[in-house]
């Protein structure tokens, strides 16, 4: 060819180009369609609808009277009442942590059912989703028949509590409700969070105190009430082929980094766990790979019988067994005590209140689901 080659459109080259373009389109559409198939397969692998949620809320207003998605464990009526609560929260510009607190409170007080005044069978005059009492100034009997009014009264009171966004859910709820069972609200946090997730496209996973819905970052608390224990890279995963006995993840952080409770809960155990050659080994100094055990560590019991464990702390944790802690509360500082080759936090998540290795699950997957991703942006 000549010097004009670069601009020529000879028949042979046109054919080649067309073939390449056609193949390119084919490749693109195939990968897209296979990507879709892969995604739907992955979504279908689990029965729990909440695990399909990957966003952090759409920001669209919830329509309680439109078509509502199913929520496992709740009737359509209960889902509608949850939707009414969330819609009122959105209208009042309450950030999503408030929606979760309100739905959990209504789950405890009425099972999300708009209970009428039960007459002589009732011990007092409580009405509705939040069991509010006309005699205690919550409103007239007529006003309190309306779930939207009930929710508005709940949120109005919640917003008067200083720092409510960072309080354990049950503490915030109790400050509003003043019930004889102050710790009863905590157990509803997981179902309330997944209900909010399903109705809002993942707002339970969003930064809890932010009006503009977005995923958490840098140690923020999610609307579900969870946060990362430390901010740092995961350097060793859960039960990898090289470390099948690794029942948690290692997060690399400099010695002395504050370690935070991943959610509200009660401290179960504070111990030094270190042995070498069959003898106890101090946790107040660095361990090594020849030392066995978790070093200075603590276990925290959360709602729904989830336990989190924090190992290799530099010194005795700052909390004691039996103590309640809030989400993001500092419980100790990271170090390298016990079986550790360098400063890091070893972090475990256990289900069914089983602190043994049989209860351990992958913290990366768990924390992602509750809106406090350990790896990258949620």
């Amino acid at each position: 060819m000549t010097a004009t080659t670069g601009f020529s459109t000879s028949p042979a080259r046109r054919v080649t180009r067309r073939v390449i373009i056609a193949l390119g389109v084919a490749v693109l559409s195939c990968t897209l369609c296979l990507g879709g198939v892969t995604a739907s397969l992955l979504g279908g692998l689990t029965d729990d609808p909440t695990t399909a949620i990957v966003g952090c809320g759409t920001g669209r207003p919830v329509d309680p009277y439109g078509a509502l998605p199913a929520v496992a464990g709740l009737t359509e009526d209960q889902v509608r009442n949850a939707a009414i609560i969330i819609k009122v929260g959105q209208d009042l510009k309450v950030p999503p942590r408030g929606w979760v607190i309100a739905v959990a409170t209504a789950l405890q007080e009425s099972r999300l059912t708009n209970l009428p005044h039960l007459g002589p069978r009732n011990d007092h005059d409580s009405i509705g989703l939040f069991q509010q009492r006309p005699s205690q100034g919550w409103g007239t009997v007529e006003e309190l028949k309306d779930p939207a009014y009930q929710a508005e009264r709940f949120f109005t009171k919640l917003l008067t509590i200083p720092g409510w966004e960072r309080l354990p859910l049950t503490v915030a709820a109790q400050r509003v409700q003043r019930s004889a069972y102050p710790n009863a609200y905590a157990k509803h946090e997981p179902l309330a969070a997944s209900t909010v997730d399903i109705l809002t496209g993942g707002a339970g996973r969003a930064a809890g105190a932010e009006l503009q819905l977005r995923c958490t970052s840098g140690g923020e608390i999610s609307a579900s009430g969870w946060t990362v224990p430390v901010v740092g890279p995961v350097t060793s995963g859960f039960r990898t082929s090289a470390r099948p006995g690794h029942n948690g993840v290692d997060i690399a952080v400099p010695k002395g980094t504050p370690v935070r409770s991943a959610a509200a809960g009660v401290v179960l155990t504070v111990r030094c766990n270190a042995h070498s050659g069959g003898l106890p080994y101090s946790c107040d100094r660095d361990g090594g790979v020849w030392v066995q055990g978790c070093g200075w560590y603590l276990d925290i019991l959360h709602a729904a019988n989830v336990i989190t464990r924090y190992c290799h702390l530099r010194e005795r944790p700052y909390v004691t067994a039996g103590q309640y802690v809030g989400p993001g509360e500092v419980v100790g500082v990271s170090g390298s005590s016990g079986h550790s080759s360098g400063p890091h936090l070893h972090f475990e998540v256990h289900l069914d209140a089983d602190p043994s290795r049989l209860g351990a699950v992958d913290p990366v997957a768990f924390m992602h689901q509750v809106g406090a991703s350990l790896v990258g942006a949620a």
Binding site: T16, V19, V27, S236, N247, G248, V266, T269, Q292
Partner: protein
């Protein structure tokens, strides 16, 4: 570039396109599998045969015991609290004093302003049982006529006190 394309030809182009297709599918599968972190495909079991099953365990060894010599004291403390708590016909000030005698300061504070008429039960229907126990913490369940009361107890100055009250409707 044009010379290169010509040399590759239609067949070569097809081969390259197929290669891109395969790499694309692999990349997509990897991305969706690893990126979502919702699904962890099991590792090839044969890949681990040379590794000790406990290898890499920097977690807890020699776990806590589950039964303790003072279990009876825990159950007695729980029963004393719940009997006071159930007296909802008491004058509010008397009820608060009765309950506070078996509660931590934190629980007493959480119960400020509570109307005893709101206690959602009138009597126990079975003895307390320990649900969860460590050396200094216990969870105790007590069946009541309306459901179940779940108490959290902890040791304060050598004494078991109730620190949390949960109630589940039957």
């Amino acid at each position: 570039m044009a010379g290169l394309l010509r040399r590759i030809g239609v067949r070569g182009g097809t081969a390259i396109a197929l290669l891109v297709l395969i790499l694309g599918v692999v990349a997509i599968a990897r991305f969706t599998g690893g990126g979502s972190s919702m699904v962890n495909l099991p590792e090839d079991p044969h890949a681990t045969v040379t590794v000790d099953p406990s290898e890499g365990d920097d977690g807890e060894v020699a776990p806590n015991p589950t039964a303790f010599p003072d279990d009876a004291a825990v159950e007695a403390a729980a029963a004393a609290f719940v009997n006071a708590w159930l007296q909802r016909d008491l004058d509010p000030a008397d009820w608060h004093a009765a309950v506070a005698a078996h509660a931590t300061d934190e629980l007493t504070t959480a119960l400020i302003d509570v109307d005893p008429l709101g206690v959602p039960a009138t009597r126990t229907t079975a003895d307390p049982t320990i649900v969860l126990r460590t050396e200094e913490f216990a969870q105790v369940a007590i069946p009541v006529d309306s459901g179940r009361v779940l108490l959290a107890l902890r040791v304060v100055d050598g004494r078991w006190l109730v620190d949390g009250v949960d109630w589940e409707r039957a």
